[in-house]
Amino acid sequence: MERVARFTGIVARIGLWISGIGLVVMTAMIAAQVFFRYVLNNSLIWTEPGSIIVMGWFILLGAAVGIREGYHLSFEVLLYLLPDKVKLVLYSVSDLVVTAFGAGMVVYGWQLAAKTASVKLPSLGISGAWNFMPIIFGGALIVLFSLERLARRAAGLPTSRFGDAAEH
């Protein structure tokens, strides 16, 4: 388990860094868009669709890492009233449905990518399948991190709770 946790920790770190780089790239793209249009009077046409795709990556990878680090919004009022054993079962139910949803992102994201693969995106000239890559990769990471949570709990290790201030 320790080794698995070290591995997923590295994956999460990489995911978070890609997201961070995505945010910086987005900033550069939109700043360039304003600069070219206003200063050079020569509007860039690829920055808008391009930055939207970058945003998709940064949201879905960042959100997947949030599963591991526990920084999602949640609502845990009822849980305070329940005994610890019941709580652990409910946490596992929750992690299971999140796993299922992550799997759905991979499977159905793939279907969407396959359907749009032959479409060429306007202004970018790349395949429409690129639109759905963040869903597929984000989904895969959500499955990985949710399974890790289940495994950790089964092994009696703590998992970060949503709504807590996450420890980074």
Partner: protein
Amino acid sequence: ATACETTLRSSDTHPDGYPTVIAVQEMGKLLEERTDGRLCIEVFPSAQLGEEKDTIEQTQFGVIDMLRVSMGPFNNIIEETQVVSLPYIFRSVDHMHKVMDGPIGDEILEAFSDHDLVGLAFYDGGSRSFYNSEKPITSMEDLAGMKFRVMQSDIFVDMVSALGANATPLPYGEVYSSIQTGVIDGAENNWPSYESSGHFEVAKYYTLDEHLIVPEVLVMSKSTWDGLSAEDQEIVRQAAKDSVPMMRELWAEREKESEAKVIEAGAEVVTDIDKTPFIEAMKPVYEKHVTSDTLKDLVERIQATE
């Protein structure tokens, strides 16, 4: 509509009461009569179920049954649809009607079937012209260096560049304030959109160059279509065709209303322009986009249609 056996869900980005929405609702009434209540249509207006690109995918996957949509978003999916998005391809609305009502239109409708869709009918989308906040545009020289918002489409971007202006893609919702503050000088659209978006309040010079006369299309999901009996398929196709004349009437009325309203509000319409240099400037756009034999053939036949 609750008494229906099967209710077909149809999406539209326009609001309730728009000619396209009414036309599909009317088609639904025809269907209900002709199938003794086996089939009817419920229209979801105002992009409730998603924007055009999204609802195209939903129709392909059979999530929704029908869709009224413009041809632009199909340009990168179905090659044949590109031909109607070529600037100045149609000389007039009448010319467009003749082409789309004839064998060429049928051919384009047929092309949808390779993409899990069934093309049912073409509706009117009016003709699009340039409007701006700066000056009345009467020649190509006037356009030079001006920034115009266009939809994200390679053909439209190339068209604006070929006219010597600056194509600036922007989200539709930001166009009004962007013209107002001067981020862009103008945009291009048909009379009803020019009016309903309020753009005439901030861009009062409308130059009737009619660079695009793009029909819209009514499609059905292939999986819904395959679930219908051959008899019902025929009824659906006929009802769609029968909704077209009424749609065109509603559209013409709506155009007139919008035109009157914006002129009343002080819009200045430039009608006496010589379009010849505009059309000539489109040569490189055609050279770049009309490359396949299919498209070349379609362009030739459309230009030959009287």
